[in-house]
Amino acid sequence: MKRTPLLTLTGLLVAVLALAGCGSTRAPGGGGGSGAGDTFTYAFHLNVVTEWDPAVSYSNESIAMANIYESLTRYDATTKKVLPVLATKWDKSADGKTWTFTLRDGVTFHSGRKLDSTAVKEAIERTKKLAAGAAYIWDPVASIATPSPTSVVFTLKYPVALDLVASSGYGAYIYDTTAAGSGDLAAWFKTPHDAGTGPYTVASWQAGAETELKLSAYDDYWGGWEKDQYKNVAFRVTPEITTAWQLLQRGDVSFVDRLTPQLFAQAAKTDGLATSESTSFQNLVALYNTASGPLADVRVRRAVQLLTDTDAVVSALHGAVAPADSLIPAGLLGEGPVGVKPDAAEAKKLLAEAGYGSGHPLRLRLTYAQGDKDQSIYVTLLGSALKQAGVKLDARPMQWDAQWSQAKSPNAKQRQDVFVMYWYPDYADPYSWFVNLFKSAKEPYFNLSYLDDPAVDATIDKLPMLTATSPDQAAADYRSVQQRIIVEDAAVTPLYVLNDQRAYRSDFTGYADNPAYPNVVFVHDLHVK
C-alpha cells in the first residue's frame, strides 16, 4: 500500500502518454494543420497586434490591418506608381493644393455601411483629431469637402503628393466611424472589432497566444472571391527563426517573414518552398555630430566617411543587407548614387590637417542599437579601420530610448559623435529622411547630426511642393540636396539598406513583396495552385 501514490502517478503518466498518442502525427513535409487548406498561415517573429484602432495603429499589426482595412490608394514600389484601391481616380490642381478623389462604387464596410465621400471624410477627420500614430501625414489637409457621394475634395495648406499620403501603410485607413453606433468607437475597436472595407475581417484574437489572430473572408468584399483564394488567415507568433523554418518545412505555416541568410539560401533550394528577396525602404545611417566635439570639423567627418567601408559591411552580413547608394532606397523618387568611396590614405591626410596624430590622438563616441547584430558588425569594422588610422572608437550599444535621450541632451558635451540608427518612411516618399534628419531645429529631435545648413533647409522646404507639381524636378533636387548633405557637409554616411528575405510554400502564386508595406502579405492577391 505504501507504493500506491507512485503506482498511481505511473498510471497517470501512461494514460497521459497514451492520450498524447491520440494527437495527429504527420510526416515531415506533410501538409494539413493550420498551414493548409483554405487558411494562409503567417509565422511572424513578434506579437502581432498592440493597437486595434485604425486611426492609432502604428506598429506590427499593419501585417493584419492591411488585409482588414484599405486606403484610397496603394503604392507600387516596382513601377513607382500609385494604384487605385478605394479611389478609382484622382486629379490635382496646377498648384498641387486641391486634390479630388473619385470613389469606387459598390464598396461596403464590414459593418454593412456603404462607402461614400462622407464616410471617407469622417474617417480622416477622426484620425486627424486623435493625432496619434502616423496621423501627422494628414497635417497638410486644411479641409475636406464632399460635393457628391463619390467625390472627395481635399484642400491643402501647402502642396504635397496627396496620392502618396493616401497610400500610407499607417494612418491612411478608411473605416466606418459609425460602426459602434452610439457607443464609444475607440472602446469598441478594443474588444476587438473592425470596421474596414478589406477582404478579411477579425475572426478571433487572443493576446499572448501562439496563434494570436485569425481572420476570415468578408463575403461582400468588392474585389469578389474566387475558389482558389484563401478564405482564412492565421498569424502564428514565432520568435525563433529555426522554429519558423521547421514549421515552414513541415507545411505548418505558409509564410515566414525572415530567415537567417544561411536558412534563406537553404529555402531557395528546398522542394516545396519559394523565396523572395528585395530591398526594403529601411536603411541604416551614421549621423555625424556637426555641431560639437571633434566632428564639428568637417575634415574629421570626411575622414570618418573615407574610413567607412560599406561594401565590407554588406559583405560581412551575407545578403541580409544591400549596399546603400544614397540616402534614398531604390523604389522611391530621387534614388541614385551619391556617395563617398573609402580612401584610408586621404582620411589620414585629413586627420593630420585637422591636427590629429600620435601626439594628439582622436577619440570618438558612437552609440548604436543594443542587440542589433548587424549594427555591431558595422561598429566592429569601423572600429578596426579607425584604429589603423590612429583613432579610438568608444562604441556603446544602447536601448533606443536611452540612445535617443542622450542625443537630445541639452548639454552638448553629453551627446555622441556618431549616432547610428535606422530610418524608414511612413509612406512612399523620401521627404521623411530629409525633413526629420537634416532640417535644422533649435532643439534636436531626429536631427541628430545637428546639421544647420540654410541651403539644405531651403531645398527641403521646396520638396513637397515639387513632388506634387513637378516630380522630375523633385527627383533632381533630392539628388542635389544629398550631394550637399553627404559630400559637402559630410553629415552622414548611408551604411546599408535592409534586405527583405521571405520564404513561403510554393503551393500558391501572386506574392510580391512591397517595401512600402513592410512585412505585409496581401492575402487576397494570392491564388492556391
Binding site: L9, A20, G23, P28, E210, T238, T243, Q246, D252
Partner: protein, 338 residues
C-alpha cells in the same frame, strides 16, 4: 504550530514588499524614457508629452511609488507599454501556460528523478550508480537551448512524432472549441471533457516539458541519491537490516521518508528557477507563457511588465517555499520541533 506559520507568512510578506519596492525603483532608474517606449520610436513631441502626463512620469519618485503601491492593492499592476494591455491581464494569460509547462516538467522530474535517485542509492558505487550519476550530470549540464533544438529537429521535423511548436492545434478551434476556465489548456480540456484538444495539448506538451524537465530530473536524482546514501548510514537502517528487511524495502519504506525533506526544499527552488529559466524553451517551442512575455518585456524596456513579472516570480518563490515548509511539517514530525 500557529506561531511558526504566522512567522513564515510574515517573512514572506516582507520579502514580497521588499521585492516590489526594489523592482519599481530599479525600473525607474533604468536609462531611457518610458514615454518613448509607450509611444514608439517615431513619436512626435506632442505624443511624448501626452504619454509622460498619462504615465505620471513628471511626478516625484515617491509619488510614483505611492501610486504604484496603491494600484497594487487594488489589483492594478499598470499597463504594459508593449502589449498596451493591463499587466494583470497579460499575466493571467501567460502564467497559466508557464505553470502548465513547468508543472508538467516537475511531474516528470519527480517521476523520473526520484526513481533514478533510489536506483543510484540502491546500487551505490556500482555500474548502475555510475550510469545514474553520469546521466543526471549530463541532464544538469546540457544547454537547454541545444537540447530543445536537437529534440525539435529530430523528433518533430525529421521523425514527425511530435509537433514542432505551439500549445495545441489551433485548427481544432472550429471543430472542438475549448471553453476556457483557468487558461491552463490541458486542465480546461480535461474539465470540459474536450478529449481532442486534451490529446493535442499533451502531444504538444511532450517535447517542451521533457526539455524543461532535464535539469530538475538531474538535480532530483542526484539529491535523492545523496540523501538516501546518507540516511543509509543511520542506526535505524542497521536495525532494519538485522530484522531481515530487503535493501530496496529499507530504502523505500524507512529511508525515503526522512530523506525526502531536502529534496522537497530543492523542488520548490527548482520550480521557481525553472519558471524563470524556461524563457528559451518557450521561445523555441512558441509556448505562450511567461518566458516569451518576459523576453518581450525586457527587449522593449517595458517597466510595468518587468515589475509585474518580478512580483509574480517572487510570489512563486515565496508560496513555493511556504508550501514546502508545510509539507515538511506534515511529512516529518521532527520539523515541527525546529
Amino acid at each position: 504550530m500557529r506561531t511558526l506559520l504566522l512567522r513564515r507568512v510574515g517573512h514572506a510578506a516582507l520579502v514580497v514588499a521588499g521585492v516590489v519596492c526594489l523592482t519599481f525603483l530599479l525600473a525607474r532608474r533604468l536609462p531611457g524614457d518610458e514615454a518613448v517606449t509607450a509611444t514608439g520610436a517615431r513619436a512626435t513631441k506632442e505624443q511624448l508629452a501626452a504619454a509622460r502626463e498619462r504615465l505620471g512620469l513628471d511626478d516625484a519618485l515617491p509619488v510614483q511609488l505611492w501610486h504604484y503601491l496603491t494600484g497594487l492593492l487594488h489589483g492594478d499592476l499598470g499597463t504594459s507599454l508593449h502589449t498596451r494591455q493591463p499587466v494583470l491581464d497579460d499575466l493571467r494569460r501567460a502564467l497559466p501556460a508557464s505553470l502548465e509547462l513547468v508543472g508538467a516538467a516537475m511531474v516528470l522530474a519527480v517521476l523520473v528523478g526520484l526513481p533514478l535517485g533510489v536506483l543510484g542509492a540502491r546500487f551505490a558505487r556500482r555500474g548502475t550508480d555510475l550510469a545514474v550519476r553520469t546521466g543526471s550530470m549530463l541532464l544538469v549540464s546540457v544547454p537547454v537551448f541545444w537540447l530543445a533544438l536537437a529534440l525539435q529537429l529530430l523528433l518533430a521535423t525529421k521523425l514527425g512524432w511530435f509537433p514542432v511548436a505551439g500549445e495545441y492545434d489551433r485548427s481544432l478551434d472550429s471543430s472542438s472549441p475549448l471553453t476556457v476556465f483557468t487558461n491552463v489548456t490541458a486542465l480546461d480540456a480535461l474539465v470540459t471533457g474536450n478529449w481532442t484538444v486534451l490529446g493535442s495539448t499533451l502531444h504538444h506538451l511532450v517535447l517542451p516539458a521533457v526539455v524543461v524537465a532535464a535539469y530538475p530530473i538531474g538535480v532530483v536524482a542526484q539529491m535523492t541519491r545523496a540523501a538516501l546514501i546518507e540516511e543509509s548510514q543511520q542506526d535505524h537502517v542497521r536495525m532494519e537490516r538485522a530484522l531481515g528487511f530487503r535493501p530496496l524495502e529499507i530504502l523505500l519504506r524507512f529511508s525515503l521518508r526522512p530523506a525526502i525533506g531536502p529534496v522537497l526544499t530543492l523542488l520548490a527552488l527548482v520550480f521557481a528557477y525553472t519558471l524563470v529559466n524556461s524563457v528559451l524553451v518557450e521561445a523555441i517551442f512558441n509556448w505562450p507563457g511567461m518566458g516569451t512575455y518576459t523576453a518581450d518585456a525586457i527587449r522593449s524596456v517595458d517597466t510595468p511588465a518587468i515589475a509585474g513579472v518580478t512580483l509574480v516570480v517572487a510570489l512563486v518563490y515565496v508560496v513555493g517555499n511556504l508550501a514546502v515548509d508545510l509539507a515538511q511539517i506534515l511529512i516529518d514530525p521532527r520539523a515541527r520541533q525546529r
